[in-house]
Every structure is written in C-alpha cells, then in structure tokens.
Subunit: 140 residues, 4 copies
Amino acid sequence: MPARTEIRVRYAETDKMGVVYHSNYFVWMEIGRTELFRKMGLPYKVIEEKGIIFPVVEAFCRYKKSALYDDEIVIETVLKHYSAAKVVLDYKIIRKKDEVLLAEGETVHGIVTTEGKPVSIKKLPWLQEKFDKIMEIRGN
Amino acid sequence: MPARTEIRVRYAETDKMGVVYHSNYFVWMEIGRTELFRKMGLPYKVIEEKGIIFPVVEAFCRYKKSALYDDEIVIETVLKHYSAAKVVLDYKIIRKKDEVLLAEGETVHGIVTTEGKPVSIKKLPWLQEKFDKIMEIRGN
Amino acid sequence: MPARTEIRVRYAETDKMGVVYHSNYFVWMEIGRTELFRKMGLPYKVIEEKGIIFPVVEAFCRYKKSALYDDEIVIETVLKHYSAAKVVLDYKIIRKKDEVLLAEGETVHGIVTTEGKPVSIKKLPWLQEKFDKIMEIRGN
Amino acid sequence: MPARTEIRVRYAETDKMGVVYHSNYFVWMEIGRTELFRKMGLPYKVIEEKGIIFPVVEAFCRYKKSALYDDEIVIETVLKHYSAAKVVLDYKIIRKKDEVLLAEGETVHGIVTTEGKPVSIKKLPWLQEKFDKIMEIRGN
C-alpha cells in the first residue's frame, strides 16, 4: 500500500491562472516521500542524521487537472524500485473530495553520503531492509 | 539560437542540503520560456491578453550538478517542436562562470484559451508564424 | 479562542542555514487566516466568490526560535480588531512538541472588491456579523 | 547611495489575485541585501564562509501598489543603522518603468556565528569598517 498523506492547497501555491503553479507538485511529491520514509520506520531526518541523503537526479510530472486554492489533496507515494545506486519513487496527486487524479509523477534519487559520495545500498543493510519491507507491503 | 537569460541564485532557493532545492529549476525554466517568447516578439503577457495560455502538461528535469547560493546561472531555452495541440520546449541550466551544464529539462504545454478550451495552433496564424520563425532561427 | 491549525515543515521551506527560510512564516500566517475564516463559517474562497478580497497592506513577523525540517507547527490566529476599511490579524507560530513560541506576527488587510475598490465593512453586514462573533468568542 | 538591483517578476511569484503574492517581497528584500553586501566589498557568501550569519529577527513590509507578472522591479537597499548586536536594513521596492514605489520594508538581523552564538560587531572590525563606510557613502 502506498503512503497516503493529505495537504490543503495554500493561496501562495496558486498563480495568476487561478490554479496551483506547476512546480509546487514537486514540493508535494517531497511531502509524499517524507511520509513514505516515516511509514517505513525511517524518518528522512533520521536518515540524514545517519549521514545518507537522496538527492533528486530526475523529476517528472504529468498534469491532468488543475488543483485549486483550498482543495484538499491526497498524495500517494510508492517505492517503485531500487538498485545499488538509485531509488525510484512514484506519486499520485489526487483531489480528495472526488478521488480525481490530478497529476502523476516520478522522481529518481541517488544514494550519497552527506559529503556527496555515492554509496551502494548494499553497504547500508539498515536501509535496504526497510526498502524491501515497504516493497513487499506494496504487494510487489 | 536559443534564448539566453541570466539569473542569480537566491538564498530563498537553497535548502538545508546547502544547494538549490530541485523544484526551483522548473521556475527557472519558466523564466527561460518568458524570455523565449519575448525574443519571438510575443511577450507571454501579450499572448495571455490575446486569450491564449500554455498550461504545462508535462515537466521533466535531469539534475547533474548542484547550483549554489549566489551562483550566476544561464538559462537556455529552445522551441523543440510543436503540433496542432502541443508545444515542446527544451532547457539547459548552465553555471555561468565555467559554462558547466547543471541540469537539462523539457516541458510540454497545451494550447488553450483562457477559458480552458483547447485550440489548434492552425487557428492562431499570428502565433504559428512566430513559432516557425524562431525554429528557423535555431537552424531546425 | 484563536483558530488553531497544524502543518509540518517541508524540506522545500528550509534554506542553507538549515532552518526554515523567514518568508515562509508569512505563508503559514495565510494558512492560519484561511482556517480562521473557515471557523467563522465563511471560507475565504466563499468571500472571494462574493466579490470581496482582503489584500495584505502590512505584514510583520518577529522571529524567536528557528523551525526545523519535519517539525510539527501550530499556527494560532486571532482577529485582533477591524475598522470600516481594515482588518488586523495576529498570529502565533508554535512548535507543537513543546509548545515553544517560535514567532509572532501581524497582518493588516484592506477590504476591497475583486475589482480593487475599497468597500466599507458597514456595507457588508454578512461579514461584519461574523467578525463580531469571532471577536466575542475570543473574549474581547 | 542605496544598492540598486533589478529583477523581473516571475509567473511563479503571482497568485490567483493576479498580482505578486505578498511573501515574495521578503525574498526580494533578501536579493537587495545580497547586492548591498556585494557593493560593500563583502559578498554575503564570504561573510558566511568567515563564520558569521545575519539571521532575520524582525521583518516588516508595507504594500502600496501591486507588482504584476513580467514587471521590471528595482530593489533599493540601505543599511539604516547597526548596534553591537543588530543590523537594520531598509528597502524600497520600485516599479522600474515609472519609478512608482510599490512597497517599503525593513528587516532587523542578529549578528551570530554559524554555530548560533551572538557576537558583538566590535569583535569583527573587518565587518564594522565596511558598515561604517557604506553608511558614510549613503550620506549619514
């Protein structure tokens, strides 16, 4: 099951077209990631404290319908797959009141130390274990 | 030739990793688009006043190196191609001092009226003409 | 009683100092306003649909302690007072886990039509009534 | 003379009211500060590298007229005064085409080490000297 988290659209997130400005969906995906890691039992803050970060190396979003000011939004996040050096996450941005899919996205992350050195996930069993577990839960 | 425009990284654009937060690159691409349209002789503000908008339907970015606070950044934007219903733009985000490519991106835009109705570019000769001209200039 | 609403600090809201960038507190105050109006029985979206907006004419914030990534934050908002032409709101930004006051702020808003014309609240009894009620509730 | 710097309003900075969202003016003030420090011969990046930061302890803005998408904006920044523990900066946000004052603001900053300890400016002669010089230039 994906991690589900909810937010409400801020006035600050709208633009003069009257809808949410597109770059904010990437901020919402990050909120989804934060909740996925928390659900895994590994808050991202804790991962950072252990000296590991997941910088974004690719980010993609396909926009279907506009989110509006004060809309309640559900962010669904899944760990799609991972390799020694990369983590791929998928997202659905959903309007809560009618469960309409507003957008879907994907981010690809490196696995690096806080000093910026790439590190293989095989050397981070405490992390790999959690990744395997959340992927099993998801039914993969 | 691509439209080139320059910005300087704002403190507000950095995050606790010490580098520019990834969603800001999509804001920079929009600055690039704004300059491309101005260069075409059709400021985006004018296009909007004519009742046409280009909502983002897809956005992609590949991150190579981090931009840092106070870095001077060059944004290069080209009109890659267009069809009756869509416009595709490509971007390069470059660190000015050493011309290192920090990121590259692509956005796909619908062509719709300010009321949200899709409109074929064939019905907008004033726009198509400018698109053809900027693509020729680019050497395509 | 003030309107209380909760948010969680986003990674996007931090800066290279490792703390929340100061302008985000003004976004948080707006979230507080949105909840105050909802609590009043007059969602801000509905007020806008009735043709009335409250543009910010002054904004102030005093910062005491830094908010950090992933902190749970409580925003407390009160309607401090209003006159024919202005509304003054006060805010407290509180760290949830230990109820420490991180910042306090104030915003002053005009009362204008969506066309930008100032309008006296005396001509908007549906609004004034709600304002009086929320101030009474507050014990003023 | 104040430090003058220019920006162009980004689409991302507008909101559904069709004007620049108010919190962005605080980001613009920071751009003004960055230029003032550069003009002083002490880029803020260099000050940070020397282990000194100026966290915002108070921020104020009075909004007079709205900035619009694609407007060219001039930010004027002056060092108003400083004491052992604090620095006060004043800002004017001006529309370039007609020199209309859109907003004016003030920020108060602490003087602290990157570890967060307050430090008296008297112990930082390299900084005080620059502050005195820029205030003289200003005609104070």
